[in-house]
């Protein structure tokens, strides 16, 4: 394994352990980066240690202690700054890397603390758990680097000055505290899957989100929603290759070449969904995973079990009654009862918020097209196009717009 690969896999765990040990995020990052610098210099000639993660933690800890000693000689008060969270550095106890619980869970909950705003939560999670450099995080969210750096600095300062605790919340708080954690991972995936600007799919972000979801699912095996989120991301990611053509244009579920779907990811996702159903504590992520599991079982779009999907959307709407869920439910309804019934359901959802949501107009356009209402369909595609900044989505909507005008008249019902 290359140092780079070890970094990818171990960075979050090492930083999390060092934060507990040092009680300071910046000092922990610095120590872990120091240790990786040593690794780059030594491993090629001396060989990689049997447990590279433990080696990094030990090296980082030793270097941090050296640094603290130097600083405490030079400046007694500076060293005291490292006493947040009741860190155990001063006690000099060597942590047993193999036996201590995984500190990444504490770190996830600290990064996604509800007292931090969501973009700060996302940025900290990618940076501290994913090991992404600040410029990478900035690029991922199309934010200027200086802005992202400032946001990360501010969030770290708040964690320190407001004493945001470094621990896994107690059982009673867990349901409320887990929500922002799941939301952050889902947001990272979504930013990769349907990037708000530029190209459609950014696989690096999708892969990072799946990695984080996997860590969370492993660390919280008894949280059905953590399992549900992982299943959902696996099942969505399985369709990536079929979703965008070689030319970079979008292919809808109906037209995707299902042979391109990743069978391994689907099998894994389906198994998790099955386990969730057996457990019987449904939640929004599990139900969305189940919906995508139904799609993954269908040999073709026409042979999809739309009744099962409609039932699941009803269940999802009962859990999270949002207009977006209602819109997806209406689209499923169109497959069960026909485009006219679907269009009625979509039109019922009209609201100022919906009017600015491009998928609302895209869904209307598609149903109008199927009903042969060409002019209205073209107008709705236009409106949808004006509301998305994603170039691939724009190209897709342009193509639909011309197609509906070209083939429209022959589709006119009598």
């Amino acid at each position: 394994m290359t140092v780079e690969a070890v970094f990818r896999r171990e960075y979050g765990r090492c930083v999390a352990t060092l934060i507990r040990f040092l009680g300071d995020i910046d000092a922990a990052e610095e120590a872990v980066q120091d240790a990786f610098t040593v690794a780059v210099a030594r491993w090629p000639s001396e060989g990689q240690p049997a447990n590279p993660g433990a080696w990094i933690v030990t090296t980082a800890r030793n270097r941090a202690i050296d640094r603290l000693r130097r600083e405490s000689v030079r400046d007694e008060r500076h060293a005291q700054a490292h006493h947040l969270y009741g860190a155990d550095a001063a006690a000099g106890t060597a942590p047993q890397e193999e036996t201590v619980p995984d500190d990444r869970l504490r770190l996830i909950f600290t990064c996604c603390h509800p007292a931090l705003n969501q973009l700060a939560q996302v940025a900290l999670t990618l940076r501290l758990l994913g090991g992404l450099e600040t410029p990478e995080v900035a690029r991922a969210f199309f934010v200027p680097e200086a802005t992202m750096a400032q946001r990360i600095v501010r969030a770290k300062r708040k964690i320190s000055s407001a004493h945001i605790p470094y621990r896994v919340p107690a059982e009673a708080e867990l349901p409320a505290r887990l929500k922002p954690v799941l939301a952050v991972i889902y947001l990272i995936f979504n930013e990769g899957y349907a990037a708000t600007t530029g190209s459609l799919i950014r696989l690096d972000l999708c892969a990072e989100a799946i990695r984080l979801a996997r860590v969370l699912a492993e660390l919280m095996p008894d949280e059905p929603e953590a399992q549900g989120l992982l299943a959902l991301l696996l099942l969505l990611h399985a369709r990536s290759a079929a979703r965008v053509t070689a030319g970079g244009s979008l292919t809808r579920l109906a037209e995707q070449d299902r042979r391109l779907w990743d069978r391994d990811l689907i099998t894994e996702g389906q198994a998790i969904v099955r386990a969730c159903v057996q457990r019987g504590h449904p939640g929004p992520y599990q139900v969305q995973a189940a919906i995508n599991a139904v799609h993954s079982f269908a040999p073709s779009f026409d042979r999809t079990d739309w009744r099962a999907i409609l039932t699941l959307y009803d269940q999802l709407y009962a859990l999270t009654p949002t207009p977006v869920v209602a819109l997806n439910r209406a689209v499923a309804l169109a497959e069960v009862r026909g485009p006219a019934a679907g269009l009625d359901a979509v039109n019922d959802l009209r609201s100022p918020a919906m009017d600015s949501y491009y998928l609302f107009h895209a869904a209307r356009a598609d149903l109008l097209r199927r009903l042969g209402r060409v002019e209205e369909a073209a107008a709705a595609y236009d409106l949808a196009r004006s509301l998305t900044a994603n170039l691939v989505e724009q190209a897709f909507l342009d193509a639909r717009h011309s197609a509906v005008l070209d083939t429209g008249p022959s589709n006119q019902p009598g």
Binding site: H113, A115, S161, A162, H163
Partner: protein, 126 residues
């Protein structure tokens, strides 16, 4: 332990008699609860429509009716509590929000006694 400000923002609108009655019961009850848990440091109240702003202006001072910020809400009262961390402060803030029937702003509060300030200044740090 860390200290936090639990701040309550009020409009100039006076609470109804009924609301006032309830506040007179719920707030002292919360004070007692904080005292029992040894988190109460002190509480402060700022009478409505009574603030005055002093600002330097061309070598002199301009005195105007306050408050300083021209928002509808102004700081009306607060607690200073001493608890383990932000999560503990947020739990007390929930109780305060219920007792006072309004949002509560939670901010870390750095109290400095004159002794601490004098010691820091003697060490050349401020």
């Amino acid at each position: 332990m860390a200290q936090y400000l639990l701040a309550l923002y009020y409009t100039d609108e006076m609470p109804s008699a009924e609301e006032f009655q309830r506040l007179c019961v719920d707030v002292p009850a919360l004070n007692a609860k904080m005292e029992d848990a040894s988190v109460f440091v002190f509480q402060g109240g700022l009478p409505p429509e009574s603030a005055t702003v002093v600002r330097p202006s061309g070598g002199d001072f301009l005195i105007t009716d306050g408050p300083y910020t021209e928002t509808k809400e102004h700081l009306g009262g607060f607690w200073i509590i001493d608890v383990a961390d932000l999560d503990a402060a947020l739990e007390w803030a929930k109780l305060a929000a219920v007792a006072c029937r309004r949002p509560v702003e939670v901010a870390p509060f750095e109290m400095r006694t004159i002794d601490e300030l004098l010691a820091a200044s003697a060490a050349g740090e401020l």
